[in-house]
């Protein structure tokens, strides 16, 4: 598997497609350079190094939203032709005539893609962080570092989901064009259509809003359905991790906590935030595992004709 992993990795970093990845890193650096740090230091909630990822002061959209938007395309770009291009090139039957297991081919490709995504995300994050540190002349606290690591894990898992999806498509569909189109179609469906469905279903279930309780319930239904989309899981989880104060409240319309006399304006600890996002991480991993399982089942017993 190691041989395949190495080959794929050098492919990812050597190909023109990787310009996209470099572009993403460069974008992060530009963000770090143009964010309005003075404003952020004055008006922020005391977590400056978390705020630089969530703010849109001085920039059109926050870095977090940017990753949420471009990340899937990146994952798809690395995976959509991984198996079927080898098939059309005629290299698949030659590779599988060597003493390697079929799952090694798939795993090698997946982990090479995963590492590439992790490297891109990490270098982008570190670049932004470094620039911000340079500009304000101080470093992040341990609390912030832990939260940023959590953010990195969730972000990588989110990108890995799209990589796994695109690779699955590349096994089931014979041409690279078809798998690219299907992957992008699913991305659009998961990003926009799930939200529309969630809203309309919530409106059916809670047709009229008479009091605060109805509002909270409708929001809750909408939230649960939209969690089918990995994009929403990513958004929710990173929101919790990078915003220790408002991130703790999953349902802003639920008044039961403040009614019980709990003060919601103080930050919660990193470990408490991690507890909150634990289910999100598990769900993302489970989604990836399902896609990989589907791919294995199909690929393992398939006939490899030249």
């Amino acid at each position: 598997m190691l041989a395949i992993f190495r080959k794929e990795l050098s492919d990812h970093f050597g190909r023109k497609r990787f310009l996209l990845l470099y572009g993403l890193v460069a974008w992060g650096l530009i963000w770090g350079a143009v964010i309005d740090v003075d404003q952020l230091l004055l008006a922020g909630n005391g977590f400056f190094f978390l705020d630089i990822f969530t703010t849109n002061r001085g920039v059109p959209i926050s870095l977090l939203t940017f990753i949420g938007f471009l990340g899937p395309i990146l994952g798809i770009a690395l995976g959509f032709d991984s198996i079927n291009s080898e098939r059309t090139q005629g290299t698949l039957s030659r590779i599988l005539a060597q003493p390697v297991h079929r799952d090694a081919v798939f795993n090698g490709k997946f982990f090479a893609g995963l590492l590439t995504l992790a490297v891109v995300l990490l270098s982008m994050g570190l670049g932004t962080l470094g620039l911000a540190m340079f500009r304000v002349g101080m470093g992040p606290s341990a609390e912030e570092v832990i939260r940023l690591i959590g953010f990195f894990v969730v972000g990588t898992a989110f990108l890995a989901f799209w990589l796994a999806l695109a690779m699955t498509a590349s096994i089931f569909l014979r041409t690279a064009v078809a798998s690219a189109l299907v992957s992008i179609g699913l991305w659009i469906a998961a990003t926009f259509i799930v939200l529309l469905v969630a809203r309309s279903v919530a409106e059916r279930i809670v047709p009229e809003i008479e009091n605060a309780e109805d509002r909270a319930q409708r929001f809750s239904v909408e939230q649960w359905i939209s969690r089918a989309s990995p994009g929403n899981i990513y958004e929710e989880a990173t929101g919790i991790l990078l915003d220790p104060i408002t991130g703790r409240v999953l349902n802003p319309f639920d008044t039961s906590a403040s009614a019980a006399g709990i003060d919601l304006s103080t930050p919660i600890s990193a470990s408490q935030s991690l507890q909150l996002v634990w289910p999100h991480i598990v769900v993302l991993f489970a989604m990836i595992a399902i896609l990989l399982a589907l791919s294995y089942v199909r690929f393992m017993r398939e006939e490899i004709r030249a």
């Binding site: 005629g90 290299t91 698949l92 039957s93 030659r94 060597q98 003493p99 390697v100 004709r305 030249a306």
Partner: protein
Amino acid sequence: MRYPLIETKDLVKAYGDFLAVDGLNLTLEEGEVYGFLGPNGSGKSTTILMLLGLTEPTAGSVMVCGHDPTRDPLAVKRQVGYLPEAVGFYSDLSGRENLRYTAALNSMERKHAEDRISEVLEMVELETGRQPVGQFSRGMRQRLGLADVLLKEPRAIILDDPTLGLDPTGIQWLLGIIEELSEKHSITVFLSSHALHEVQRVCSRVGIMSHGQIVLEGSVPELSSQNEAGGFHLTMEVTGGKEKLWDALAAIPTVRRVDHSGTSVAMESDGDVRASAAAVVVEEGAKLLEIRSENRTLEEIYLRYFQTE
């Protein structure tokens, strides 16, 4: 214990209702060059895929180098090289880089791999330097494909229609190297091909597939006598032959047919009747100018089989 290198027993591969391979029994001894013939769609490629575990048999068994390719594909692939019909390489890499990847997949140690790559490239007479494979001609690709197959020092190689698309000199070169591999390196060769003339030259044994089964098998001389429509063919040039001569020739035991036009005589019999035919000609007072037996070529055997079918 000595076992056949490749052995299939009642091998079946069905695609839905269609039987691509229908009860195939095939045995290859070590060191043979076996020609695997048959029209398109007769199940040759499917058989090859099953030999390598690239597709699963529906029924029956396959053993290659003493291993079952479905259960233990790696043991088979360590010892058997396979050149697919349309061999593909990474077009942006050079020939050497492509081979390096194959070496890595075979877990060859780096230093050894470099030596071995130079060795096989020399063997197939391919020196291309940094040129990417995308710019290779069909002939160069085929050479690289063969180098790729030989890299792991296989016991047996399976070549699926390797002469396809090669020019005549390319074909001659390929046959030369197949002979060399068999004689010098004692590698068993399983050669699927449509180039009958060439197969006849290099193969010690051939098998002809039709509708998923082997319908004719043996060495080319065996086949030409086995072929019931063939028998023994004899032509003579005779001057001064009279009516009586034709009757006398036809009366020789096992002779089935005598045709004559002008001075040439064609005879068909069950056995070799050259000596008695010559004697009869002289006895009858005619002059024998030439006598020769006609062995059928593989091409004739092949075409005759599929015409009569």
